[in-house]
């Protein structure tokens, strides 16, 4: 089971990295979203996998049966999902603003903070 997930995660990361290597900020953004999903799956797999039984203690029992899924990675992923969603939202709006302010989504043309061919600093004293 972990094997399938490991390979699947490899595909997620490969796709995410490929998208993030793009020049276009929108594609980078898509890459980041996929990257986040890859990380979540990775955390999920890290806690080992079990099928179907959610970690909810059935009525009448005091503890969780051993067959249930590992709740800790789920809790960690919940935290991570919300965080990565927040960042995704922020970046999305930032990209949008970037497009508005800078007039481009091509990162090669975003040279306002670090302009091309700046003059040399003064060489005198």
């Amino acid at each position: 089971m972990e094997t399938v997930f490991s390979v699947l995660i490899g595909f997620f990361f490969a796709a995410a990295v490929y998208l993030m290597l793009s020049k276009h900020s929108v594609r980078i953004l898509l890459g980041i979203a996929i990257f986040g999903n890859g990380v979540n799956l990775l955390l999920f797999t890290a806690g080992r996998l079990t099928r179907e039984v959610p970690p909810i203690i059935p009525a009448g029992m005091d503890t969780l049966p051993a067959t249930a899924a590992n709740p800790l990675p789920q809790a960690l992923i919940l935290t991570a999902i919300v965080i990565s969603f927040s960042f995704f939202a922020f970046l999305l709006v930032l990209t949008y603003r970037g497009y508005q302010e800078l007039g481009t989504d091509n990162t090669d043309e975003m040279r306002f903070a670090e302009p091309k061919d700046e003059p040399l600093p003064p060489l005198g004293y």
Binding site: P54, I56, L78, V82, A89, V93
Partner: protein, 139 residues
């Protein structure tokens, strides 16, 4: 999207979703659910209402600025963590009391108020983002 149908069905759907979100929030401790999901559902509800009836209507309806609601949620959650200082136990220790209300024993706990805090933060912040983005359409 601003169709008549949406305008008509939006209020009942929003109301339903809000009630459902509270339900999800409260049952979260024992069943799937909780503050996050509840908050997300409620925020979606407000977003739908916003799409149907305009951002101004939502802002009017919720009275407080969404970010103020989120701030309140964070305040509530943090204070829930600090209540335990009075019990002489560490930060965020869950404290439970069972006051009797009209003969029914009602469990109240700092973990529940914490989860409610989470709910408010998510509602406020996500609705705030959605409304801000929707607001742009009207510029």
């Amino acid at each position: 999207m601003n169709t008549v149908i949406l305008r008509t069905v939006a209020p009942p759907i929003t109301a339903l979703m809000l009630v459902f979100s509270v339900f999800v929030l409260l049952r979260g401790h024992n069943e799937p659910g909780g503050g996050f999901i509840g908050g997300l559902i409620a925020a979606s509800a407000l977003a739908i209402y916003g799409i149907a009836h305009g951002v101004a209507a939502v802002r009017l309806a919720i009275r407080f600025h969404p970010m103020a609601i989120a701030g309140f949620g964070l305040l509530l959650a943090t204070l829930s963590g600090f209540v335990s200082i009075f019990a002489g136990v560490p930060f965020m220790t869950g404290l439970w009391i069972y006051p009797s209300l009209f003969g029914v024993e009602v469990p109240l706990a700092t973990v529940i108020s914490f989860d409610i805090g989470v709910y408010f933060v998510v509602v406020g912040a996500i609705a705030g983002i959605a409304l801000t983005l929707e607001g742009r359409e009207e510029d």
